[in-house]
Subunit: 528 residues, 2 copies
C-alpha cells in the first residue's frame, strides 16, 4: 500500500472484500492501521469491523467513536444557515487535518457543494490541501476540479494518476473539460483526449481550436436545436423523450436543414403556447447570434446589457456551433474584475494564495525589480540637486510630500480612465473633454493643497521662500498628474499594453520625477 | 414653447395636429424653427411638411436631406456587427450634437438597446448629456433610466418634470423602481409612490423596507408560485392563459396554503414531464431559499458557486416573498468589482465620469487630505534626522528607494489578502499560515533586492557603509511590509472598516515610516 497516495489506497480498499480488508488491517502496525482505516469507505466500515478481532475492533471503533460525536455536532451546525459560513467550515477542516481525523473531512465534503469544496481546498496550504483532496469522493472529483483556479487545478490534476484523471474528465461538461485540458501540460492533455471516444474527441478538438478568451472558448455544445416548421406539440413530445434538459436552457435555437442559425425560441413561449402553434410563429428572428471569434469581454458586456441567460454561437457562415450560458459569463466577469484588481499590484488573478514561497517570491521579484528601476530614476533626479539639499536640509524633509500628493491625485484620474476604457465609455470623442475636466480638478485641488502645505511648511520651518516653492511644486505636480493620468492609459492602450497592469508604475514614475524636479529645481533657482 | 426643455416641447408638438405644427413653425424665427423642427416626431414629419409653404418646406427639407444621407450610412454601418463598437456610436452622437443634428441621435437611439443608450449618455459631458437625453423616446425613458449609474440617474431624473417621471416609473419592474426611488430625493420618491395604485404602492413600500444591499433589496415580486397537489397538465393550462412569463423564469416555486415555501419546480422538468404527473413528484425540496435579510454579496457568491439563474426569497417564517434573478446578481458582482477597484483610489463606484469639476474636486480633496496627513507623518520621521541628512546628503538621495520598495511589496500582500477576504478563502484558521508564507517571501525578496540595491548604492556613492545600511533597511522594510500587508486588512475587518478602501493608505504610511526610520536611524548610529 502506498501510504503517501491516499486516493490510490482508497480505491484499492474499495475494490477488496471487507474480510480481506480486515485481515490486511490486522497485519499492519498500529499507526499504519489507523492511516489505512481512514481510507475505508464509510459504507463498508461496519462490514469490515465485523470481520476484525475484538481487540482491534475496539481500537478502531474507539477512533470512530471519538471521531463521531464532535464531527456530527459540527456538521449539524454547519447544516444550519447561520453557520454555513466558509470560515466555520475552514476551521472544521483545519482542526480535522490537525488531529488526523480524515474521515471527518470526507463527511463534511459529502455535504458541501463542489464549488465550496474547491474554495476550501484553495484556502489550504499545499500539504494540507493534498491530504484534503484525497478525501474528495470519486464522482465529485471532476466537479471540484471545474471550480478550482488555474494554478491550483493544474497542480492537483498533474498529481493524479492518468487513469483517475481521465475518469474525472469524463464527468465534466465539454466547455469545462476544454478549460482543464488547456491548463494541463500538452502531453497529459493529449492523453486525456485519446482516452475519449472518437465523436467526443472530435468535438473537443474543434472547441480547443478557439482561443480561451473568445466566444468559441466559452461555448458549450449542449444546445437544443429545432426546425421552424414543426408544431409546439411535436417539440414537447420530443422534449418528454429526453427526460431532462441542460441547465440554463431558457431558449432553443431554430436552424434550417444546413444547420444555419435562424432565430431563437424561448422556453417560456413554449410553456405558454398552444400545442398546435408552429415554431415559426413563436420564434424571434431578430436575436443576433454571437460570432465564435468574438472576444469574451464583448460577450460578457452584451449578456450584462441585455440581461441574457444564454446565447447562440455561430461560425462565419452563420452555422450554429453551440451556446454560451450565463454561468460561464459570470466567471468571465469575476475573472476580469480579479484581473483588474490583482494586475494593479503586479499579481496574476489565477495565483494560488498558498503557492510555495520560492515560486511566489520569484514571480513577485519581477514586479519589485521593475519598481526598483523607477525608484532609481527618482533617486537620480534627487541626486542632481545634492548641492542644494546639502545647504537647505528642510528640502529633503518636505520633498516626499510633493511626490506623494502627485501620485495620489494621478492614481485617482488613472483609475477613472482605466474603468472608462474597460466599460467602453471612454473613446476618441470624449477624451479631450475628460482631459480638460481632470486638469480643472487638478488646478482646483492643486491650489487648495498648495496653500495648506505652504502654510504648514512655513509654520514648521519659519521660511516663507520654502512655503512658496512647495506651493508652486505641488500645483505643478497635480496638474501634471491629471494630464498623465489621462494620457498614460490612452497611450498604453494604443500600444497594446494593458493599462491596468503597468499604468500605475509609469504614472508614479512621472509624478515622482516631476515632483522632485519641480521642487528641488525651483529651490535651486530661488534659494541659492 | 420652452426651448430649453426639449422633452416638453417634443410632447407638446406630438399632441398637436400636423397643420397646427406647420403654422406654428411658420411664426418662428429661422433659428427657433430649426430647433422646434428637431423635436418633431419622425413619423409626422411628412405630414407637417405637406402643410408648410413651399419656401419653408425647401428650407426644412434641406435640413432633413443634408441630415439623412450621412446618418443613414452611419446607421447602416452601426448595424453591421463590426461597427457595433460603443466607440463608433459615441462618435456619431458627438458629431451629431456638434452639428445640432438632434434627429440623427434620435434615430440612432431608436435602434440601440437601452443599456447601450445609458452607456452613451454616461460618456457625455453634462450639457451634451441633457441634449441627448431629450432625444430618448417616451417608452424607452424608463428602460434607459434603469441602466444608468446612481449619480447620473439621480441628476437626469430630478431634471424631469414629475408627470413624466411617474410615466417612466410605471414602465419599470418593481425592483428597478425601488432602486430608482432610493436614489431620488425623499419628497420626489414619495410623489412617485403616491401616483401608483394602492396595491402596487403597498408592494413597493414592503420592498423599500429592506436595505439596498440585502436579498430583500435585490428581489423582485414577479415569481410564479404553484401548489404541490396539482398536475403538470393543469399548470400548463394555467401558463397558457398567461401568454408570457417573466424573463429568467427557470423555476417555479412550490408553496402551501399559507404561502410557505416548500420547494422548487424547474421549468425544464415541466417541459419534459407527462401532463398527468403531479407537481409533488417533480419538485425539489432540498433547494434552500434565500433569507430576505441575507447580505447581497453572500447571495452573489451562492449564485456563482451553484450556477443559479433564480432563487426564491423567504422571510424569517419561511413565507415566500419574491425571487432574485441572475441579471440583478450580475449587477451586484460588477458593482463589487468596481467598488474594490475605485475604492482603492478613494473614489466612489457610482461616480459620474463627467460630474462638474467643482463637485469632483470637493470629493477628491478629502482623499488628498487624508493622504497629506500620512505624508506629513513620513516627513516628520525624516525631520527627526535632519542633522544626519546634513552631514551625509547621499542618504536623502537614496531614502525614497527604501520607502518605495516597501510600499510595493506591501501592496502585493495587501491585495492578496483583500481578495482572500472578499472570496471568503481567508479566515481565522489559515491566516497564521499565510502570514508565515508572506514573511518568507518578504525575507527572500528582501535579501535579493537588498543585495542589488546595496551594490548599486556602493557603485554610485563609493561608500560601503551606505550600501550595508540600505541593505539592512530594505530587508527590514520588506519583512515589515509583509506582516503589515496581512495584519492591516485583518484588523480593519475586525474594526468594521472596509480594507479595500483605507488599506493602502495605512499600509504605505507604515512602510514609509518604517523605511525612513530604519534607513536614517541606522545611518545615524553607524555613520555619525
Amino acid at each position: 500500500i502506498a501510504h503517501d497516495q491516499g486516493k490510490r489506497a482508497r480505491r484499492l480498499l474499495k475494490a477488496m472484500h471487507p474480510a480481506k480488508v480486515a485481515s490486511l488491517l490486522e497485519t499492519l502496525t498500529p499507526q499504519q492501521r489507523i492511516a489505512a482505516w481512514h481510507q475505508v469507505d464509510a459504507r463498508t466500515e461496519p462490514k469490515v469491523l465485523a470481520h476484525l478481532s475484538a481487540a482491534m475492533r475496539a481500537q478502531l471503533a474507539r477512533d470512530l467513536e471519538v471521531d463521531a460525536p464532535p464531527s456530527d455536532s459540527a456538521l449539524s451546525t454547519a447544516d444550519s444557515p447561520i453557520d454555513d459560513a466558509p470560515e466555520t467550515q475552514l476551521h472544521l477542516v483545519l482542526d480535522a487535518l490537525d488531529q488526523g481525523k480524515l474521515k471527518r473531512i470526507s463527511r463534511l465534503f459529502s455535504k458541501l457543494h463542489p464549488a465550496r469544496i474547491a474554495g476550501l481546498l484553495e484556502s489550504l496550504p499545499a500539504t494540507e490541501r493534498a491530504a484534503a483532496w484525497d478525501m474528495v469522493e470519486g464522482e465529485r472529483t471532476s466537479k471540484v476540479l471545474r471550480h478550482l483556479h488555474q494554478e491550483v487545478r493544474r497542480r492537483l490534476a498533474t498529481e493524479m494518476d492518468l487513469e483517475h484523471l481521465v475518469e474525472a474528465a469524463r464527468g465534466l461538461e465539454a466547455d469545462d473539460l476544454v478549460d482543464l485540458i488547456q491548463d494541463l501540460p500538452v502531453a497529459t492533455g493529449r492523453q486525456i483526449l485519446e482516452a475519449m471516444d472518437r465523436r467526443e474527441r472530435e468535438r473537443l478538438q474543434s472547441m480547443l481550436s478557439y482561443p480561451e478568451d473568445s466566444a468559441g472558448g466559452l461555448m458549450n455544445m449542449d444546445q437544443i436545436a429545432v426546425r421552424a416548421n414543426i408544431k409546439i406539440g411535436t417539440l414537447l413530445r420530443y422534449l418528454r423523450l429526453r427526460e431532462d434538459l441542460p441547465s440554463n436552457t431558457d431558449k432553443f435555437f431554430v436552424i434550417d436543414r444546413k444547420h444555419h442559425y435562424q432565430g431563437i425560441l424561448r422556453t417560456r413561449r413554449v410553456l405558454t403556447a398552444r400545442p398546435e402553434t408552429m415554431v415559426s410563429d413563436l420564434m424571434e428572428t431578430d436575436f443576433e447570434p454571437v460570432l465564435a471569434d468574438q472576444p469574451s469581454d464583448a460577450v460578457a458586456r452584451r449578456f450584462e446589457e441585455q440581461d441574457l441567460s444564454s446565447a447562440p454561437v455561430v461560425d462565419a457562415d452563420g452555422r450554429l456551433l453551440g451556446r454560451i450560458t450565463i454561468d460561464d459569463v459570470v466567471d468571465v466577469i469575476r475573472e476580469q474584475a480579479a484581473h483588474a484588481m490583482m494586475g494593479m499590484a503586479g499579481l496574476d488573478e489565477e495565483t494560488d494564495m498558498f503557492a510555495p514561497v520560492l515560486a511566489s517570491s520569484r514571480r513577485r521579484a519581477v514586479w519589485l525589480g521593475i519598481n526598483l528601476i523607477t525608484a532609481f530614476l527618482a533617486a537620480w533626479v534627487i541626486g542632481l540637486f545634492e548641492g542644494t539639499l546639502q545647504q537647505v536640509v528642510a528640502l529633503a524633509v518636505l520633498m516626499p510630500i510633493v511626490a506623494s500628493m502627485g501620485g495620489i491625485a494621478g492614481s485617482q484620474t488613472l483609475t477613472l480612465v482605466i474603468r472608462g476604457l474597460a466599460t467602453g465609455q471612454l473613446a476618441g470623442g470624449n477624451t479631450r473633454i475628460l482631459l480638460l475636466k481632470e486638469a480643472g480638478i487638478g488646478l482646483l485641488n492643486g491650489l487648495l493643497w498648495a496653500l495648506v502645505v505652504a502654510a504648514l511648511a512655513i509654520l514648521w520651518f519659519g521660511n516663507w521662500a520654502i512655503g512658496g516653492i512647495i506651493a508652486v511644486a505641488i500645483l505643478l505636480n497635480l496638474l501634471c498628474a491629471a494630464v498623465a493620468g489621462v494620457a498614460i492609459p490612452l497611450l498604453m492602450r494604443r500600444l497594446g499594453i494593458d493599462p491596468a497592469l503597468a499604468g500605475s508604475v509609469v504614472l508614479t514614475t512621472v509624478t515622482d520625477i516631476v515632483g522632485f524636479f519641480a521642487f528641488l529645481g525651483l529651490a535651486t533657482l530661488i534659494l541659492l
